[in-house]
Symmetry: D2
Subunit: 143 residues, 4 copies
């Protein structure tokens, strides 16, 4: 399993009047860590999307558990990997730590999307390109 | 149980290059719907926080399931209520519909927070003020 | 000149650790007020974009002056209109007031964009559709 | 004059349905670059705020000019410095380049703020601490 690492700096504008990160920002960072996961595995999304005609990997589910808060100036160490695969979906796990202490963990269940054949403004589920599964460590489909 | 309603307009800046809402925005709207829930129950948060010395209701968990996407110009009908209570926590349920079709549902598990007695920059869990439980329909504690 | 009005509620997540709106949110609201301007003039952007093959009205310049701050729970009264026109650009003026007092004023200089003929991923400046100028009060081009 | 550098990666969620950065994000990045400016000069804001009892440096004005757009996967090279000083205000200049080409330039006019003596929820202008001017290259006040 391929594990991607990214460091995120908590800035002033991420924090709320209680002085801690406004929680939807963690989901923004989940999304950015998923981009980093693909890039660090040698599959930067912009090129991947163009090469395979994808519209992206929209969400089916997202969840986070918050065991600690973070504040302006904190550095978060983020670990990201794919923990589950199906033909058209993948589950991305995220763990955010500060100085070795787990603050946030969660996941994104994502589906591979292409333009809908009837209306290119809409999207449609599609099989995940094999190269994604190979590079992100899922092994061959059906394994 | 008190149910709060809010209508949200999807705007250009909420949407991503696939033309659909960038999902962390749904969690921003969960948070805004929770503010509306309190206000619609006669307990606007700014005054509630001042009256009871609260620092807010930070998150322990948040989850969303996405059964449909939404795009620029859509109007979302949002239903919000508290489905579970404990002494210091409450679980807020959210359902977002468009033209009667459920697109998003999820919840926020939140804890009542006050300034930490040792360091007012930090926060500490505290019992939810009784008036919150009364107005949001949870009935008396222990019921 | 057509003037559009929109009321914006300042929510918890818009505010920073100083307890006031994090200023980039005012530019988000400028953008939303520009959407409302078009819609209130009978030209909702999603339909306008489809009808005229536009990619949007990206920015050439944006500026805001802040003469007061706003906080969680405030309601802002927003006034928006087009103050200057050229063939391909328009200048949108914004004024945000609270209880009749001006807090923020600024502008967006925007250009009409279509897909670039050489690469549909890129954009290219184009003349503003005549109906936009008619409805938003600019009078006929050359007037 | 002290010049600070920061590299910013444009991610999926920063971009709009036209495939380019939604412009208020540039102002978010202006704010983050201002944090970096202070930190790179040896004055990280969280510690500076605590040491001098500041509530931050809220905005009086902000402006940006956009001579090019940026998209998912781009890396922006950001240059930040203080170009003008008064007793209580400073003007922060920002230039964002991609591969040596200037895309965005702008400024933030900011004022030094402390808690208002009559109401700690409100803020009040105050002289900029001397150390800020020394480290950020403005020379002594009155020079």
């Amino acid at each position: 399993m391929f594990v991607s690492h990214r460091r995120i700096r908590v800035d002033w504008g991420h924090c709320d009047p209680a002085g801690i990160v406004f929680y939807p920002n963690y989901f923004r960072w989940f999304d950015e860590c998923t981009s980093s996961l693909f890039e660090n595995a040698g599959l930067p999304m912009p090129q991947l999307y163009r090469a395979h005609g994808l519209k992206g990997f929209p969400l089916l589910e997202a969840k986070a558990s918050f065991s600690g808060s973070s504040s302006f100036g904190d550095d978060l160490d983020c670990e990201t990997s794919v923990s589950e695969w199906s033909t058209k979906t993948l589950k991305v796990q995220h763990r955010f730590l500060r100085d070795g202490t787990l603050l946030i963990d969660g996941f994104e269940l994502r589906v591979c999307a292409i333009p809908h054949p009837d209306d290119p403004q809409r999207i449609k589920a599609a099989p995940i390109p094999a190269v994604v599964r190979e590079r992100l460590g899922g092994g061959p489909a059906g394994a």
